[in-house]
């Protein structure tokens, strides 16, 4: 049994699955995340797969500002993900609200709702920066994984 557990643990670190949620972004960061998945940047070569189901995901990529309506969806998604999980906030809006942080319907960054592990600055961050962010997240993921097992 232990060998299976170790195997699963190692696989989760080696091949994390990614869930992308657009909170309230202007699409700039979104399309950069998608560009990461397409041939030119091809994040799948690291074993990272974009999934649509939060229950399969290890990594949550969040773009955009949090507002009063999508904070519930965001909380819900983060709650459904299995532990340990890594939350990567992308772009100025995801970090703090960016240029919109004083707008009336904006609460602020993602970290106001769920704990964020990695912050990727940029408006929007380049796909290279997103890869960097995911890699930084993975290091933290491995660390968290070590703590829990």
């Amino acid at each position: 049994m232990d060998t299976i557990k170790t195997f699963i643990r190692k696989s989760r670190i080696k091949s994390p699955w990614l869930l992308h949620f657009d909170c309230g972004s202007c699409n700039g960061c979104d399309i950069e995340v998608l560009a990461c998945l397409t041939p030119v940047y091809d994040i799948e070569r690291f074993g990272i797969i974009n999934v649509g189901n939060p229950k399969h995901a290890d990594l949550l990529l969040v773009t955009g500002t949090v507002n009063h309506r999508n904070k519930k969806v965001l909380g819900n998604l983060a709650e459904q993900m299995p532990e340990p999980k890594i939350v990567v906030a992308l772009g100025s809006c995801g970090l703090s609200g960016g240029v919109f942080r004083e707008a009336y319907n904006v609460i602020g960054g993602v970290d106001k709702i769920i704990p964020v592990d990695v912050y990727v600055p940029g408006c929007p961050p380049k796909p290279e920066a997103i890869i960097d962010g995911v890699v930084t997240g993975l290091a933290k993921f491995a660390q968290k994984k070590g703590d829990t097992s």
Binding site: H68, R69, N105
Partner: protein, 126 residues
């Protein structure tokens, strides 16, 4: 504005809109502007072969405006938006979100009204 803006009243609005529809105008959008503490301007923009036509309806904030969505269905979204943002009620909306198109139910204040008046419906909650 470059084009002429025709003033309408809540009573004449219905006829004017029906006329526009008969003449084959495409509904572009409506804009709402707060004038002072009591009144708002609602501008109706129409387009036919790239020519714009505008109507201006000036109404008090606490009065319901007649909805044009039974004539132009496309207006339902923007009328709901104005309901959300300015707290103006529209009578006879095709799909009424009841002020929850963008905002959550608990939000009572109309965010675009800089000058709030106590007797505006819904502004007491602030």
């Amino acid at each position: 504005m470059k084009e002429e803006v025709i003033s309408v009243t809540p009573d004449t609005l219905g006829n004017k809109i029906a006329e526009m529809k008969k003449n084959g105008y495409r509904f572009v959008t409506m804009s709402c502007v707060e004038l002072d503490s009591d009144t708002v301007d609602i501008l109706y923009h129409f387009d036919k072969n790239l020519e714009l036509a505008h109507f201006r309806l000036t109404i008090p904030k606490n009065e319901a405006a007649p909805s044009i969505s039974p004539v132009y269905f496309a207006a339902f979204l923007v009328e709901n938006e104005i309901q959300d943002q300015f707290g103006i009620r529209f009578d006879g909306l095709a799909i009424d979100y009841n002020r929850t198109l963008y905002l959550e139910e608990e939000v009572q204040r109309a965010p675009y009204c800089r000058i709030t008046v106590s007797n505006v419906e819904g502004s007491e909650g602030d």
